[in-house]
């Protein structure tokens, strides 16, 4: 036989052991199974915390399981076991013959008298049988539906709670995953800052260059201007003196030479076509 008893069966050892344990002052587990409970100050508190949950029927007497469906009946009144009991001796029709015989006997001997009450009985019982046969199943289903609704409500609460916790877990996991990827954000920010710094540095460098170049250009242009002025001045001075140095005689000689040369050219010129 296996160690664990079936549902609803009474485990004598555990019950007896449990009872014995409860009888011992200081808790159900003192000594044998939980030495931590021997402490008189903390023992009772720990006992409450580790009390056994209901794993079996709450009663300590050997009661059988409550059946889910009722026993089978014939004619709504007589259990099928009675028919089974009479079957070996009288066969299938035995109980019916017995019933009919009893009824006819009581009627004929006026043990059961037919009075006004008989007819009211017939009408009442007939009505009841009709109602039960017609609406019995649907009323049963209605009752089952009521129970199912109750269970469904509680189940919904449980499922909602589970769903909530699951959502919380998923959110937490996604948050954790996000934390893993945070370094991308930091890299991008770092890059941004580095670029900004670089940009500012270059900008300033460029500005410095421009300023310096401005100043140098200024000096150069001042120099160039001085040189140009000096050149012009020199050229003017030279021209002036040259013009001054040309005497009237030299001028006349030069002009006469130019005219002679031109006349020479004029003689050569008509032999060539004018282009």
């Amino acid at each position: 036989s296996d160690g664990a008893p079936g549902p609803g069966h009474w485990d004598a050892d555990a019950a007896a052991g449990g009872l014995v344990d409860l009888a011992v002052p200081g808790g159900a587990f003192s000594g044998r199974r939980a030495p931590c409970l021997k402490n008189p100050v903390l023992g009772p508190g720990v006992l409450q915390a580790i009390r056994i949950f209901h794993t079996r029927q709450p009663s300590l007497a050997p009661i059988p399981c409550v059946p889910e469906y009722g026993g089978k009946v014939c004619l709504g009144l007589i259990p099928k076991e009675f028919f089974q009991f009479l079957y070996p001796k009288t066969g299938v029709r035995g109980p019916y013959v017995l019933g009919t015989g009893l009824i006819l006997y009581s009627l004929s001997k006026e043990i059961y008298v037919i009075t006004a009450e008989t007819f009211s009985a017939i009408s009442t019982i007939g009505l009841l049988i009709y109602v039960v046969k017609k609406y019995g199943a649907s009323i049963g289903e209605f009752a089952d539906k009521l129970s199912e609704q109750k269970i469904a409500q509680l189940e919904e609460v449980k499922q909602a709670s589970i769903q909530q916790i699951q959502d919380a877990i998923d959110t937490e996991k996604s948050q954790q995953a996000l934390v893993q990827k945070r370094h991308y954000l930091f890299d991008v920010q770092r890059n941004n800052i580095a670029m900004a710094l670089e940009l500012t540095y270059r900008e300033r460098l460029h500005r410095v260059y421009r300023e310096v170049k401005n100043r140098l250009d200024y000096h150069i242009s001042v120099q160039n201007m001085m040189r140009r002025k000096e050149q012009e001045h020199m050229i003017n001075w030279v021209e002036k003196h040259v013009v001054q140095s040309i005497s009237a005689q030299q001028e006349k000689e030069t002009i006469a030479k130019c005219i002679a040369g031109l006349k020479l050219l004029a003689k050569k010129a008509p032999s060539q076509p004018v282009l």
């Binding site: 006004a116 009408s123 129970s147």
Partner: protein
């Protein structure tokens, strides 16, 4: 065997012992206590019916009136179940006895009146005079209202007794008529039997309705006085 029409209403006794006490206590067995969260079909249906009825009955009451919830619900369940059980053949209905109905009606009515007088004395006394009565009629009207007040428990008890007794009596009589007509003319007997069936349906309804009416009136008296 029933010798006359009165026999079925006599207080039942077996060998000289009054078993009417057992009969009065019997309907309580038919309402099992719900021991678990999800019960069997009988308890589920009873719970649903009680919830429906109590919501309907207690909707009009204030906080004070709702302390009577248990009383009203037990009342309607008791009267309903005893009336319905009385329709079974050869059974005894306690609510056909005027003594028992008076025993239910007078204390309940007196309870409502005394509650009213204790907590809202002026309003309770004001009930004796309807609004807008011309001056010369006032003394007569006060007397009439007093009589009307004191008749309330009597009316409650007699109404229930008369209805249930009349119903049982009719069933008995028409059953007797059917029995007598069977030898004379089967067709007429059959018609009478159909009438009997219709009457039975009516009696089932009356059983429940009377319970409801009783409880409703008690609740109305309560409403006036809280």
């Amino acid at each position: 065997m029933n010798e006359n029409l009165f026999a079925s209403f006599a207080a039942p006794s077996m060998m000289g012992l009054p078993i009417v006490v057992l009969i009065v206590m019997f309907p309580s067995i038919l309402f099992p206590t719900p021991s678990r969260l999800i019960n069997n079909r009988l308890i589920s249906i009873q719970q649903w019916l009680i919830q429906l009825t109590s919501k309907q009955l207690l909707a009009i009451h204030n906080q004070k009136g709702r302390t009577w919830a248990l009383m009203l619900m037990s009342l309607i369940l008791f009267i309903g179940s005893t009336n319905l059980l009385g329709l079974l053949p050869h059974s005894f209905t306690p609510t056909t006895q005027l003594s028992m109905n008076l025993g239910m009606a007078i204390p309940l009515w007196a309870g409502t009146v005394i509650t009213g007088f204790r907590y809202k004395t002026k309003a309770s006394l004001a009930h004796f005079l309807p609004q807008g009565t011309p001056l010369p009629l006032i003394p007569m009207l006060v007397v009439i209202e007093t009589i009307s007040l004191f008749i309330q428990p009597m009316a409650l008890a007699v109404r229930l007794t008369a209805n249930i007794t009349a119903g049982h009596l009719l069933i008995h009589l028409i059953g007797g008529a059917t029995l007598a007509l069977i030898n004379i003319s089967a067709t007429t007997a059959f018609i009478t039997f159909i009438i009997l069936i219709l009457l039975t349906i009516l009696e089932f309804a009356v059983a429940l309705i009377q319970a409801y009416v009783f409880t409703l009136l008690v609740s109305l008296y309560l409403h006036d006085n809280t």
